[in-house]
Symmetry: C2
């Protein structure tokens, strides 16, 4: 068991009607609020109105930044930070899924400075302070509602990178499962793929952590138990709640304790597909994971079989990989890139970008040659 620090100060408010406390939570920080959201779906499903009611209840001065993209770009981060800076906001309220909340996290550390948020990713700058962030989650998937990570992409440099800092933990995080009712069947499925792969990335990291392994199994089994049922009952409160909480637990660091780190090799490849072709994040992961497992199936034979035994109740490495593929199929997620695209003409560009980004995990490194093998396996 490796040394670790367990620290997560986010206050998560989970359940039906929890947004009733939103105004009160924000007012603890002040009244000038930067409201950040995405393409406007929250205006259709009524969440925007609820948020505005809460902001009115505390007589907040609200500055809105809308239009964060599903694969968020640093240009939006910088523009929103400018708006927040010019208006001297006391708090940021992010309403949306992973892209909105991740963007808001980088906005929160960009407002107090004058450079681009990308400088935190490139390593040119280190954040010193943050504007308090409160979030309302509308999509169960990335786990950003209760962690200190944020992923943003930069088209100019052809990079999609993750950033971590204790400064960017959400202060308050509101999770009402009813806020996910309007998430389509396909995006609900991608969220399930996302949480499943967060678990495996932790599991295939390094360090013998028996309880953290068992917690990985617990989360995956819960998602398997309820995931497919949810796709057939999108407005079932309890199924929405279970998958929403599974997704939070899959990346709030609880799966990581006692490990050196997770691997994150599957994510690093998945990000390339999103960067180049706007492939939804969850879909990119269900595509890459089986190929990654096949590539590593000799080296990681024992670990692969162990997760198969404990999560899918199957014996053997190949059987485990098939079980992963069958599960992704059962929740209608792609397991080959060719399922969502046509032809082979983009293959060279994907490979080139994988090489350029030196895709690979913290633990299981991948060479340019390895990229080619994995690419063939998931195409």
């Amino acid at each position: 068991m490796e040394n670790f620090i367990a620290y997560n100060p986010t206050k998560l408010h989970f359940g039906k009607g929890v947004m009733d406390k939103l105004g009160e939570s924000i007012s603890g920080f002040g009244k000038r609020v930067l409201l950040v959201y995405g393409g406007g779906s929250i205006k259709e499903n009524g969440i925007y109105d609820k948020v505005i009611d809460q902001l009115k209840s505390i007589h907040a001065d609200v500055f809105e930044y809308a239009g964060i993209k599903p694969n968020p770009i640093v240009e939006d981060v910088d523009a929103a930070a400018r708006l927040g800076r010019e208006n001297n906001v006391d708090a940021i309220l992010a309403v949306g899924g992973g892209s909105v909340i991740d963007s808001a996290k980088i906005i929160s550390i960009s407002i107090p400075v004058s450079h681009s948020g990308w400088d935190f990713y490139s390593g040119e700058a280190k954040p010193q302070e943050a504007i308090p962030l409160i979030s309302v989650l509308t999509l169960a998937a990335t786990g950003t509602e209760m962690n200190h990570f944020a992923v943003v992409q930069n088209k100019a440099t052809q990079q999609k990178l993750g950033f971590a800092s204790e400064l960017i933990f959400n202060k308050h995080s509101f999770l009402d499962p009813e806020n996910t009712y309007s998430v389509s069947r396909v995006y609900t499925a991608y969220g399930i793929a996302d949480l499943m792969v967060h678990c495996t990335e932790a599991y295939f990291g390094a360090g013998e952590a028996t309880l953290s392994d068992k917690i990985v199994f617990a989360i995956m089994k819960d998602a398997i138990e309820h995931g497919e049922a949810l796709l057939h009952n999108l407005n079932d409160y309890d199924l929405r709640a279970k998958i929403m909480y599974d997704a939070t637990m899959a990346l709030n660091m609880i799966t990581m304790h006692g490990r050196v780190s997770g691997d994150w090799g599957v994510h690093s490849i998945g990000h390339i597909l999103s960067l180049l072709y706007d492939t939804p994040h969850g879909a990119s992961l269900s595509i890459v994971l089986p190929a990654w497992l096949k590539f590593h199936k000799e080296k990681l034979a024992e670990r692969i079989a162990f997760i198969g035994k404990n999560v899918f109740d199957v014996d053997g490495v190949n059987e485990t990989i098939s079980a992963f593929e069958n599960f992704f199929k059962s929740v209608e997620c792609p397991i080959r890139f060719s399922e969502i695209t046509k032809g082979n003409e983009m293959k060279d560009e994907v490979l080139k970008t994988m090489n350029l980004n030196k895709c690979g995990g913290y633990i299981h490194k991948l060479s340019d040659e390895d990229h080619k093998v994995i690419l063939d396996l998931f195409w």
Copy 2:
């Protein structure tokens, strides 16, 4: 799934050598430090010297309060609070097991006021602020290293009660498994019983929380996997580490999410044995749990069998209760009060005190008649 708040701001430093950061963590709050510990075993095993070295490294002014009892009493809490108040301390450093850290939590909210710490238990006072608490854990058992609970007893009123407040979360909590090497075999075993019963108290609460159930199973299975081995290898770092982390997870609220509450009926009875006869806390729980399960075996048949299936791999209610008893025996914990005491002359007093304290759980209430039945089952 019930609404819940997930919130735990304690920063837990886990692993070999983590105390090297102790001085730095304290100095964030100031230099006047109230050092609280127990009967002096930390002077024999070298932990005291390490703590003093860290305090010297930050040139701290240290005020010592030693002698907290294994079942902590409010008189010590009040005396230590006076010492801290008179010396205007900036932080409290608690070094010990559950009794020391629980006492320090109540000391932390008693220093800013002028009344007894017991007034928080009786409901006569509500805490408004707390002196920051840093703790060094020396015994894996109660989970107090990462939660907002504190149990203290009052001989005068014949009560041993729990108190909860967000103000009493440890700010920093240092867990070096090597600090538990000198814990005797029998107290190591009691710690395992304690963590196992914390899991069952959560599990037998109310509210259908499938992931929290699976996490309960994960923690219990990990403790079963490593508990007995630890008793035969008291200086095995990895086994100490695993049980230490299991104990933290068993009561840092992660088992509770999505439930109305845990039950805590077994604890409420166990506390009576500690109050009257100084029965070690873990032993009181391994004694009471099997009796409690037998008492509830019709009403809770399905839940009992479900935990048996998932934790012990057995089928049936009676088989599950036997599996619990066999596990406690395998780690050398008593399952009847008569194993650690003699004769029946104290039975009336136990029953009277159970009635007086209205022992019972938040969910599964117990009448005076029920007390008598359970008493006979565990005597």
